[in-house]
């Protein structure tokens, strides 16, 4: 029971074991495989409500959360206000609070219109720097309504960041919107991911979103992807995580985020565009990046039997799969004009000339149906949910289901959660990823989270910055990826910080963990701690003030799932 909870959720909460026991493990797994049948936790909706950018279209995200280059250029007088009314309002909000300088260097920092010492007393500034959360809150409450915007702009970035966890979500957003609107999109993404993992009752669905996003990884900080990723996760990944693999493949292949990340949007058939006289840019050409990663990482796997020739042929099939300008919605569109119309041969299959957009659809069909894909995906799922080195028998079974059920991910997962899943070899065989470690600590202790972003920073310190894996490979699921000296220290330090309420925005009720070491161990591990772990705690020097719950969250026992 504990094993199923550890593997298919982000760790048990108090009461979860009893709840699973009541309906039985098998039925509980079946329910998790059908998230639409699970009532959602109302607290989650409440946490997600302020995160507006997660619900906007790509175009609206860009309009509402302008980037710093644009703001700086306008404030420095080098660019005029945008015509679009929404963007204009968003930019104006920020720009009018800076001194406009016409002769500043491109990268010169902007000066606030009113300096901080004209807005707050010395005493107040000192409190914002060194005061307690309550004291900071009092300073903010005393600022007249009309002045809060000017204060936000005048605050040095370090102080502003410290202030965020101390204020209400609405004011927090305002502080960010006034100073770094674009960054708010990244904040919303990380916070949304954390809130869902912590609070959602549809735990397996969230695990699957994490798995598939990582499988079809897109790096958030690559240019336009800063605005494209929220829609990507919401519309390309999330709806298909337990659906048909072919649909998931289609959704990612046509997503602007992926087309941009792996450069396919710029790939055009040789000779299809003519170089204009005096054009600054040369004629564009074929780009193989997406074609290669599609086969190596998304479907067949690196040993899936394709050649460099196949890569080039697949790239030719995908020419013309591109995106509209962001101002026109930034959506996918097929541009027949730049499509390579010749005949192609992909993995031995002939794709006749003149197929247009369907050339790439045929490629996706071939890849989704290929036996190497069934194996590659099955193995990767088993490595994530069972062991680093899953038994061949299990992979064979899963791959067979994948082929027989036409890539139905739910069915593959059902096959996975059979005998081998519950074997002795699988029990506690996986080291938690940083994301799992931190979320499971919050869940096990019932920690109240009002501002999740500081948790995201902790996860980055443990080695897994969310949405920021630069390589298209995504993060490895192997234990060795996460067990090293720096990461281990970071885990222990996080455990102590959480227990001592030093993680801003999170509140752990220490009074719940006042029992003896073995009692507290059962509270957070949901089973007995290893005797060596308890012995080490017993040995602790008399009068040590380190909370037991921190020691247990940082213990070897808690690092496994």
């Amino acid at each position: 029971m504990l094993h199923a909870l550890n593997r298919l959720t982000f760790g048990p909460r108090p009461g979860d074991i009893e709840a699973v026991r009541k309906i039985g493990v098998k039925k509980w797994i079946d329910l998790q495989l059908h998230p639409e049948r699970i009532a959602e936790n109302p607290e989650l909706a409440q946490k997600l409500a302020p995160l507006e950018s997660l619900r906007l279209s790509q175009a609206d995200t860009e309009r509402n959360y302008p980037n710093p280059q644009m703001i700086r250029a306008i404030a420095a007088g080098r660019q005029s206000m945008p015509a679009d009314p929404v963007t204009r309002a968003a930019v104006e909000r920020v720009v009018q609070r800076f001194k406009v300088k016409n002769d500043a260097a491109d990268n010169a920092p902007l000066e606030p219109a009113i300096p901080l010492d004209q807005l707050l007393t010395r005493e107040q500034i000192r409190t914002l720097r060194t005061g307690t959360v309550e004291q900071k809150r009092a300073v903010v409450a005393a600022i007249p309504d009309g002045q809060i915007d000017d204060v936000a702009i005048a605050l040095p970035p370090g102080l502003r960041l410290q202030l965020l966890p101390a204020v209400e979500p609405a004011l927090r957003r305002k502080l960010m919107l006034l100073t770094a609107p674009q960054q708010l999109v990244a904040f919303d993404l990380s916070e949304g991911k954390l809130y869902r993992a912590i609070f959602s009752n549809r735990q397996l669905e969230e695990q699957m979103v994490d798995f598939w996003y990582n499988h079809f990884n897109v790096f958030l900080d690559k240019g336009a992807d800063r605005y494209l990723v929220p829609t990507y996760e919401r519309e390309a990944i999330r709806p298909h995580v337990l659906g048909k693999f072919r649909d998931l493949l289609e959704a990612t292949a046509t997503s602007p985020a992926m087309l941009f990340f792996l450069d396919n949007w710029e790939s055009v058939g040789p000779g299809t565009t003519q170089r204009r006289a005096n054009a600054k840019r040369p004629a564009r050409g074929l780009n193989e990046n997406y074609a290669r990663e599609l086969m190596e990482l998304h479907t067949l796997g690196v040993d899936g039997g394709y050649t460099q020739k196949d890569v080039t042929e697949v790239a030719r099939c995908f020419t013309g799969w591109t995106i509209r300008l962001p101002r026109q919605g930034g959506d996918f569109f097929y541009n027949d004009r730049v499509h390579d119309k010749g005949e192609k041969i992909v993995l031995g299959v002939m794709i006749p000339a003149g197929g247009g957009r369907d050339d790439a659809e045929k490629v996706l069909d071939i890849l989704a149906r290929h036996p190497a894909t069934a194996r590659f995906i099955s193995k990767k799922l088993a490595q994530r949910f069972v062991t680093d080195d899953p038994p061949k028998k299990l992979i064979d079974k899963m791959a067979k289901t994948f082929r027989d059920k036409n890539g139905d991910i739910r069915e593959v997962m059902k096959t996975m959660t059979s005998d081998e899943f519950f074997s002795q070899a699988a029990y506690r065989a996986k080291v938690k990823t940083p994301f799992e470690m931190i979320v499971s600590a919050v869940r096990a202790t019932g920690t109240q989270v009002d501002f999740a972003f500081p948790l995201a920073r902790q996860i980055a310190d443990l080695g897994e910055p969310l949405y920021r894996k630069l390589e298209p490979t995504g993060y490895s699921d192997a234990n060795s990826e996460w067990v090293n000296t720096a990461a281990l220290l970071a885990r222990m330090n996080f455990a102590l910080s959480l227990a001592q309420n030093k993680v801003p925005g999170s509140k752990l009720d220490a009074s719940l963990f006042s029992g003896s070491a073995d009692e507290v161990a059962r509270q957070v591990l949901f089973t007995d701690a290893r005797p060596e772990t308890l012995a080490a705690i017993e040995k602790q020097a008399q009068g040590a003030k380190v909370p037991l719950v921190g020691l247990l969250l940082g213990s070897p026992d808690f690092q496994r799932r």
Binding site: D461, P472, L489
Partner: protein, 410 residues
């Protein structure tokens, strides 16, 4: 160095109390032990475009293959290659490295790389870090195997250091190796908690976690003595912002602290320049920005270490090169052979090594990439044997029987 040793000695003993100092610390502070030779490996992840880093301006095919992104041949002004030997030139953003080359301390190897034909970043990085191209089953890395065998039970716990939040593939293996993200924060925030965690991880039956736990706490103790001394780079060296500069500064700090570090690894990403590799002029664009930071970081390290550079060799590598011909997006795609740098006291520099295969259509690998004439293991192997003093190269690069020194050291 005497003063630094004395300081370490006194701070170490003050920290632990006389008699309580761990054995390796006593050894590290032992003035009679010879200074260690250090090998620093820098990995440029994403496949740097070697043909635009060390530019074969004497090769006319280079300009034919790259009509819009070629670096112009050396000429007055800054936006052209910096002449090295009348045929090769440095990218203009690499100007900070020119004086090291002129001092004969920087050697360049061209048309070098991994013989494996893969164009997958992941596989190629894996092969280069494992040191076994084409063999996926290798579980350890070449730099871990490169550590000279030591029978001494009092080995330093930080003989091998990987800078960054995770232990790099090149340093995994049976020799102890630590990952350090930020030297000053390398500790448990609470001293009481530290002792308890140490005993928990020392006694756990979870072998994976106990091994790493022991390495962690040995290193934590050693770091305490280094953290006690504030660090100012010497000789006016200025490290640039960004990950590489910060990593190299910490490596310099560890070298100067004489705590027994012998190999270090760090990496820097962003070199996968499929699009807009070169801006409107050759001194602008993605590659120029990356190389500028790269060169400043390496030059600052060289300057900071000063005479101590005699004991140090730095080598750079990247998983593969890029297509000889530019693509349609002012960029280049995944290719084959590349360029490597090596600098330090032991390096016979001021020269571009390696046979130049040429860029004529029939000379290209797969009709598209720079062909390979030097195996990267020849370069690394020479540094491991001649500089680190580990002659057991078959153990470092198994199954590679044709290893050949190129005369980079001496």
């Amino acid at each position: 160095m005497t003063t630094r040793r004395l300081f370490l000695k006194s701070s170490g003993f003050a920290m632990f109390g006389i008699g309580a100092a761990p054995m390796w610390l006593a050894r590290a502070a032992d003035a009679s032990s010879p200074r260690k030779k250090v090998l620093v490996a820098v990995f440029q992840r994403g496949a740097v475009d070697g043909l635009n880093v060390v530019v074969p301006f004497g090769e006319k095919n280079y300009y034919a293959l790259r009509p819009t992104i070629a670096i112009p041949a050396p000429k007055a002004g800054t936006e052209s290659a910096i002449d090295l030997d009348g045929f090769f030139g440095l990218h203009p953003a690499l100007a900070p490295l020119k004086s090291i080359y002129d001092a004969h301390k920087l050697a360049i190897v061209h048309a070098v790389g991994s013989p494996d034909p893969t164009r997958s970043h992941f596989d190629a990085q894996d092969y280069m870090e494992s040191g076994t191209p084409g063999r996926k089953a290798t579980t350890d890395g070449w730099l871990n195997r490169a550590l000279p065998p030591s029978a001494d039970a009092r080995k330093s716990p930080i003989r091998a250091v990987s800078l960054g939040p995770s232990l790099s593939r090149a340093l995994r293996g049976h020799n102890e190796a630590v990952a350090i993200n930020n030297l000053n924060e390398f500790k448990v925030s609470d001293a009481g908690g530290s002792a308890t965690f140490e005993s928990m991880y020392a006694s756990t039956l979870d072998t994976m976690l106990s091994g790493t736990g022991r390495e962690t706490f040995d290193a934590v103790k050693l770091m305490r003595s280094i953290q006690a001394q504030p660090y100012t780079p010497a000789n006016g060296a200025k490290y640039p912002g960004g990950r590489l500069g910060q990593s190299l500064m910490q490596i310099a700090r560890l070298i100067k602290a004489d705590v027994g570090m012998e190999v270090a690894f760090t990496d820097v990403g962003g070199w996968d320049t499929h699009v807009n590799e070169v801006g409107q002029t050759s001194g602008t664009g993605q590659l120029a920005n990356l190389l500028g930071n790269f060169a400043q970081a390496l030059a600052a390290f060289y300057q900071d270490l000063g005479d101590r550079m005699e004991d140090v060799a730095v080598v750079t590598m990247s998983e593969f090169g890029r297509t000889a011909k530019e693509n349609g997006n002012r960029g280049t795609d995944h290719g084959h052979a590349n360029v490597m740098f090596a600098f330090g006291g032991a390096i016979r520099g001021g020269k571009v090594y390696g046979d130049w295969p040429g860029l004529a259509p029939e000379q290209l690998h797969d009709s598209r990439d720079l062909a390979l004439t030097t195996d990267f293991r020849d370069v690394l192997g020479e540094l491991v044997a001649k500089h680190l003093g580990n002659g057991q190269l078959p153990g470092v690069f198994p199954e590679y029987t044709q290893l050949k020194f190129r005369g980079l050291t001496g």
